[in-house]
């Protein structure tokens, strides 16, 4: 069985660069065309893999650079008094309960530090790192109102926030979000497998006639 890939010889404006391996000046068999197409697909696939590896390399380099930057800022911050660093987080508008969560301590423990009791060395570093992290996001990634940004769910389809990501040890995912190198759904797929099912709900929040919020079954059509 024979056939033609191109019906017209390339002329004038429709001339395009054709890979040397594709001979379009003669009629070839479908088997030949199939082989050539497979070779090109293989080559394209190889090039995509190379590019993906390059992208991964860049991503990895980006992450490593961020970690170095975070470490340097953390060391600088760690020289400051913990109560001063906590005050800086409060001034940004973070909630104490969320700060405690991000530092992995109880609210009463955090209250004692706010009142001047010194945290242990490990916790002192954690506080310095959290301040460094928020500063890098705000200054290098132009995240305005960092406390609000970290408090708002990253997707309309799940109640997961950047604060939750930080608590879960996914600071690099927050960096990817802030630098727009990853979509929220892709990050949720990675850090919260099954999130679509887990956070699917037939309920919605509404403001009742007394001015207070309440929940109710979602009406048909979603609104």
């Amino acid at each position: 069985m024979t056939g033609r890939l191109l019906d017209l010889p390339p002329t004038g404006a429709n001339v395009v660069a054709v890979p040397a391996s594709l001979d379009v000046t003669r009629t070839r068999t479908l088997e030949e065309l199939s082989t050539e197409a497979r070779d090109i697909a293989d080559e394209a696939g190889h090039m995509r893999s190379v590019e993906a590896l390059r992208a991964e390399d860049w991503g990895d380099l980006h992450h490593r650079a961020f970690k170095v930057q975070l470490n340097i800022q953390t060391v600088k911050n760690a020289k400051r008094a913990p109560v001063e660093l906590l005050g800086e987080l409060a001034d940004l508008g973070f909630e104490w309960r969320e700060i405690a969560r991000m530092l992995g301590v109880s609210v009463p423990a955090l209250r004692r530090w706010r009142q001047g009791e010194p945290p242990t060395g490990e916790h002192r570093r954690d506080i310095a790192q959290l301040v460094a992290f928020t500063r890098i996001l705000a200054e290098d990634h132009m995240v305005a109102d960092i406390a609000s940004w970290m408090e708002v769910p990253i997707s309309t389809d799940a109640p997961v926030t950047a604060i939750d990501l930080y608590v879960g040890g996914h600071a690099l995912s927050i960096l990817e979000l802030a630098s727009e190198h990853a979509a929220p759904d892709a990050i949720l797929d990675r850090v919260e497998p099954g999130w679509r099912e887990r956070f699917r709900s037939d309920f919605e929040v509404f403001v009742a006639s007394d001015g207070q919020t309440a929940t109710r079954l979602r009406t048909k059509g979603g609104q």
């Binding site: 508008g93 309960r97 609000s148 109640p159 709900s201 929040v205 309440a214 929940t215």
Partner: protein, 227 residues
């Protein structure tokens, strides 16, 4: 049927025993001891199940609060609460290593004066309160509401309680009583158009409300120290 369950006991509590901050406003999920509940118990432990919106008129606590009886219990595995014990709320290690449960059938109203005269033993965490509300709703109506949906609906009430606690901590340090601090907080939160309290409903505006409250506390502290 998959009601929420806790992974660690600490997930359930904001504070227990001596770590409970006396300046924290009373809230859903607070546990008290030696409380009379007419028709339920002559005295004993209770947990507040009244919704935060129904507990106060402005800065003033309601005269009587809806509570559930709390009694000792055998240990029950955390995973067992997912699909069982629907008439109870777990309160493991409430006092030292002792386990308790709140009985969601034994409900009644406790007098504010009784609660004021006694000691607060524990405050549930945000997760613990959502779990309590989920279990209460399911027990009374056989209707399962996801805890994350309760969180979305009522997060602003938790944030307001946190802000009032912080506000009271700071202002009582310079001589105001808890009641005076609460009244000033109420006035401040009502201010603005929309009000600061109204802005707490919007997740994007919450950090700015916290900033406003903290600035106001600094201003008040300066004024009170000068006077």
């Amino acid at each position: 049927m998959t009601l929420a369950a806790y992974e660690s006991v600490d997930d359930l509590y904001l504070a227990r025993g001596a770590l409970v901050n006396g300046n924290r406003p009373w809230f859903t999920g607070d546990v008290f001891q030696n409380v009379v509940v007419p028709g339920v118990q002559d005295t004993g432990m209770v947990i507040v199940i009244a919704h935060p919106c129904a507990m106060r008129r402005g800065a003033t606590l309601a005269d009587r609060l809806l509570v559930a009886a709390v009694r000792p219990s055998e240990p029950i595995a955390a995973s067992a609460w997912i699909d069982g014990f629907y008439d109870r709320m777990p309160l493991p290690e409430l006092e030292n290593a002792s386990h308790f449960v709140a009985w969601l059938d034994d409900l009644g109203k406790a007098a504010r004066s009784d609660l004021l005269a006694t000691q607060r033993l524990a405050c549930l965490s945000e997760f613990g309160i959502n779990m309590l509300q989920q279990r209460l709703t399911f027990h009374l109506t056989r209707h399962e509401v996801p805890t994350f949906q309760l969180q979305a609906a009522f997060a602003h009430t938790h944030i307001e309680a946190d802000l009032l606690e912080e506000w009271t901590d700071d202002l009582t340090n310079v001589g105001l009583t808890v009641e005076q601090a609460a009244e000033r907080f109420e006035d401040f939160l009502r201010g603005g158009e929309p009000s600061l309290r109204g802005r707490l409903l919007n997740v994007e505006m919450r950090s700015s409300v916290r900033q406003a409250c903290r600035l106001e506390v600094k201003r008040l502290l300066t004024c009170l120290r000068m006077s």
